[in-house]
Symmetry: C2
Subunit: 247 residues, 2 copies
């Protein structure tokens, strides 16, 4: 059923513009060159070719997206880690653009829901999420240029996920940092967790972090652990000065 559903869904979304509505929600802007985004979500199993017989699917766009991610993250790290030498910066970058991380990014954006494929999407391995993410980044570059592509990478990768302190191994977990600080400062803390899937296809959890019975921050993610970590990180940045003084 999976693949029939998918083909039906996609041919329909093509007509009624659902694909582009959904895409626009993910992008945060209106795409100009529509064909390039269709390509970014076309799996090779569709076996579509251009007039010259060149295959149309997202694989070549991954190459472009990978390169754009590489240079945007490189210049970000160059400015944020002034003490890091070339080798150190290279290692940090490969953590940011690791296969696992790219897969998580693609999964969070639910890119797989937009794919046109003759193979049931349930048959794909985990890497399709990251591949689609790379292809999408490549499409954005080809549609809107480097600046817009950089902006998208900041919005979806750097701002929400890249944490220099963590990458440098200085902070392993914001939750443990926070708990340690609360204990030292004789403050009570509580993580209030509830399921909060809403309209999302994936299960989501929300967390309220209370310190001394006051809600300090919130976090929402696809696992309890991640949601707690998000809330802890936000609290950390709120209390940063106090926490680093006392720890």
């Amino acid at each position: 059923m999976g693949f029939i559903y998918n083909i039906l869904k996609n041919s329909r979304s093509d007509k009624d513009g659902n694909f582009f509505l959904e895409l626009e929600r993910i992008l945060g802007f209106k795409p100009k060159k529509n064909a390039i985004y269709k390509k970014a979500f076309t799996h090779r199993s569709m076996n579509i070719k251009d007039k010259k017989g060149n295959p149309i699917n997202y694989e070549r766009l991954e190459f472009v997206g990978d390169a754009m991610l590489g240079s945007v993250i490189a210049s970000y790290l160059y400015s944020k880690v002034p003490h890091g030498d070339e080798g150190y910066l290279t290692k940090m970058r490969s953590k940011v653009v690791s296969r696992q991380h790219l897969n998580e990014l693609g999964k969070d954006l639910q890119l797989i829901d937009l794919v046109q494929s003759r193979i049931p999407t349930t048959n794909f391995g985990n890497n399709i999420h990251g591949n689609l993410f790379e292809a999408l980044v490549g499409a954005i570059y080809l549609d809107k240029g480097y600046k817009s592509c950089e902006k998208f990478i900041y919005k979806k990768v750097i701002n929400p996920h890249v944490d220099i302190e963590k990458l440098e191994g200085k902070v392993i977990s914001y939750k443990s940092l926070l708990i340690e600080w609360c204990q030292k400062e004789k403050k009570t803390f509580e993580y209030e967790i509830y399921e909060d899937t809403g309209n999302d296809a994936l299960k989501h959890f929300s967390v309220k972090l209370k310190i001394d019975e006051k809600v300090i921050s919130k976090g929402r993610a696809t696992s309890k652990k991640k949601a707690e970590e998000k809330a802890s990180k936000r609290a950390f940045f709120a209390f940063q000065r106090e926490m680093t003084k006392s720890s």
Copy 2:
């Protein structure tokens, strides 16, 4: 003597602006953020540090330049090689940005003449040329942004040196292609070579390529072979239609 000369030369050029005159000649535009270019030509042996103790030399800039070269070449190949899959494009790119090629690029621009170093430049290995080239590309990005950096890479790398036919292994040598064609077409050919070093620090050769006793194209490079190849390539593009028809 080498290193004393170099320090003297550089401290002088710093004062009288020779460094920036020479740099502007290489860049083809006026730099805005001067300090970043000074950094791009400062060797670690100078042991210069910023206020926070971070070393100031070109090594970190190589990281940025390498990434920029990667993405500019990636998007160029994406559009020029529509039949190439991800793996093929990756291989082509690594030929363009190979260590050997980057070293040649840096050497052609005589970047080493601008270096500030406490080690005699004659003691450096061959890789310094490529490293300086990468660092310069990184500096251009940080000074003027992606568009200008891309323009520089087109001007210095892609337009003069990247040849899709050659990269794809379809053309090994334009000289042999040209000779073959002349023989088939019963045309006489002659490569007229002379030394043409002019004011350059490196030895240069010029070639006039005559076909049926008429000068068809010229080439100039640091070796006879390269100069001949340049002239042949120019002739090839002039005669392209005829040559590909008959070969």
